[in-house]
Symmetry: C2
Subunit: 466 residues, 2 copies
Amino acid sequence: MSRSNAAARRGSNVTQMHHARQGIITGEMRHVAERENLEAELIRSEVARGRMIIPANIHHENLEPTGIGIAARCKINANIGNSAVSSNIDAEVKKLRTALRYGSDTVMDLSTGGDIDAIRKAIIAESSVPLGTVPIYQAIESVGKPEDITADNLLDLIEHQALQGVDYVTVHCGVLLEFMPLISGRLTGIVSRGGSLMAQWMLHHKRQNPLYTHYDRLLDICKTHDLTLSLGDGLRPGCLHDASDRAQFAELGILGELTQRAWEQDVQVMIEGPGHVPFDQIAMNVRKQQEVCHEAPFYVLGPLVTDVAPGYDHITSAIGATMAGYAGAALLCYVTPKEHLGLPNEDDVKQGVIAYKIAAHASDVARRRPGARDRDDELSKARYAFDWNRQFELSLDPETARAMHDETLPHDVFKTAEFCSMCGPKFCSMHISREIEDWNAALKSGEAAEPPVPATEGPNLSSRRP
Amino acid sequence: MSRSNAAARRGSNVTQMHHARQGIITGEMRHVAERENLEAELIRSEVARGRMIIPANIHHENLEPTGIGIAARCKINANIGNSAVSSNIDAEVKKLRTALRYGSDTVMDLSTGGDIDAIRKAIIAESSVPLGTVPIYQAIESVGKPEDITADNLLDLIEHQALQGVDYVTVHCGVLLEFMPLISGRLTGIVSRGGSLMAQWMLHHKRQNPLYTHYDRLLDICKTHDLTLSLGDGLRPGCLHDASDRAQFAELGILGELTQRAWEQDVQVMIEGPGHVPFDQIAMNVRKQQEVCHEAPFYVLGPLVTDVAPGYDHITSAIGATMAGYAGAALLCYVTPKEHLGLPNEDDVKQGVIAYKIAAHASDVARRRPGARDRDDELSKARYAFDWNRQFELSLDPETARAMHDETLPHDVFKTAEFCSMCGPKFCSMHISREIEDWNAALKSGEAAEPPVPATEGPNLSSRRP
């Protein structure tokens, strides 16, 4: 599809929101409408309203625009990127390909070490989905110590990344100096890397968060390149104990204000959310975000619903993510099995993406989006028809489904066999169901006794106990 | 602990419910009270009310009694057992040990092939948790064709299993002949193996379900040995499309009646539930069961919240199970990654148990049971203190957590290192949090500037935009 490639010019406004508010349906909006099977005008009005974003930096070539918002299907994000401990461009590009192959809707490059610029360039060149970053990671790598960062450093770096084609940036503008005392009493303090770096800077300088004080300059950069802001939750809880506390909600209030200020400049915004939240508090967290942040799209990290399962946090968090998506979150940031333990490898990326495809899809079904259940129904029909190959095709991970089936019944003849190794041939309930179906059909056409005769040896059905 | 071992005598009533209703607190109830950290009298009254069961066949030696009901912690069940395609006693005993090692609260032996009796004996001898079976699997194996089963066969076999020490049996008493037409229009018909066998029998004989017509004889066996009934949902949905339909709820109504008839004889009962249910319908299903079945404990199979992820159904179903547990289900039957594809092996059992420990624990936390979050908090403290070994110890699967950490940082020195490979040393937010904590402490003791000084270069905080 053709994308607007108007050269960025300081002072001009090229954002999707700006066009939407002028009544213009852009190519990006039309593309999103097609992918979502929605009216282009609805997409335009949602983008104008700020309830949907289309992160589409004008410098990101080969982007397939994606809509993120309550009107669209629930989306997922995969984080890749290296750290100082483990660094390799090829490995990151492989992770990107894996994330795209299994259906990630957006990708963030969270590299914190090695040649960050080179990794980002390689990833943008390969990425058909919106790419996000956390610019402060590169800022600190370039200056060495957090306290040496200046507002100019940071803003220059953000513009540098915008020019490279980054579609959205996480900026921790809402971590304010006066919120620091609110983290006393927490079990795990600040767990957002970006949030803690801002905190460290503020404590050293005894000055306010430069991303907050220079927010208008940030908005100028966004307008010029259509860089979308992902307002980071630097004070998100890092464990169940710390969830929904004063620090978290104080920051959320600021993010609501910053959303309005961005919208005044027609800058696209989404809001990042927790993290670690007990299952019963998730819907409340989503409602609160919608209220406080004026329905700007909510981008949640899980949340994990328990802290006791390191090694399985793709599961603990997919549970929370499903609830969040059902409650109205628009973008679910995956968590891999390696979370809290180490940097994810390629297989961890795959496991994370699949767990989150499950969460996003299950929440789309639960929200009763038109057509959301079609693929489930197709797969169920194939299952009932013992069409194993079709079942595999319709699966989120066909290779794994096939391999598990073939573990006990590898031969091709079993691909149409009317049973599997779970029950063996004699017990296959689906097989038996066919006979019942035939009987029901005969009953309808009058070939079978009708109505079914109650057992002579049993109690009279009409006098069944209440 | 000492257990009642009074010899079973036809006509006597040895059930926990019978004792509870006579005001007797049994050793089993006392044991459950200790494990749950609840008053023994509460346990007695819940058992008397039928809202809690303690499946404890008087012939099951070495049983650690377990309470299943809304007042107790949410429990999980692991299914093991072979099929005609795959059969081996040692392999099943290994699966049992794996299920117990990772914390399954009950186990069902669903063997449908090979020497079923020998497998069951071996499993009961090893099992400290309540053991359940589905007797019709053995019945059909012994007679060959479903239609050759007689009520006498089935009841004799149930008594045979009761004498072996089986604690609870799944019986599909609610699959009635007149419900067969209700499955028309389903995508996957009847998916319960036991339910479909009963259906096949009824269609062949044009007579009512013998487990329904001979229900009183079944109750006699239960009274004599304290065999608990798990009233099977033979008409449960096998895909999202079929969820919450007339067939499912017609059967549920019968299960409600059968619950009352069991309670009239002081027989312990739980109710089995679906299966495959969209996320938004799960809480409704639990509420309906509680209402229709008079709050008898609900024993759900997942449910899966999507059909598109064969190979990952431990995840699709753990999501549903968490919601079910939160809504009030008492026992969550695990689903393994191999579901719909083949018979689970030992590792599949492990994956299923861990996913369900997560679901049950997350729902206990969400229900705000006293102390439920303690382990999460301990692990979070260890995480904040960089005590890696303690983190691993507190994990549901310490070996996996340790192995994932050690993949990038294997040396012992990293077990106390103040970072991991995710962020590397410079970016560790937890490390930075410590500095903030120190600053907050200094602030409290008056050593730091107070209150924090707003940035001179930023907007005046008191005039922050609304």
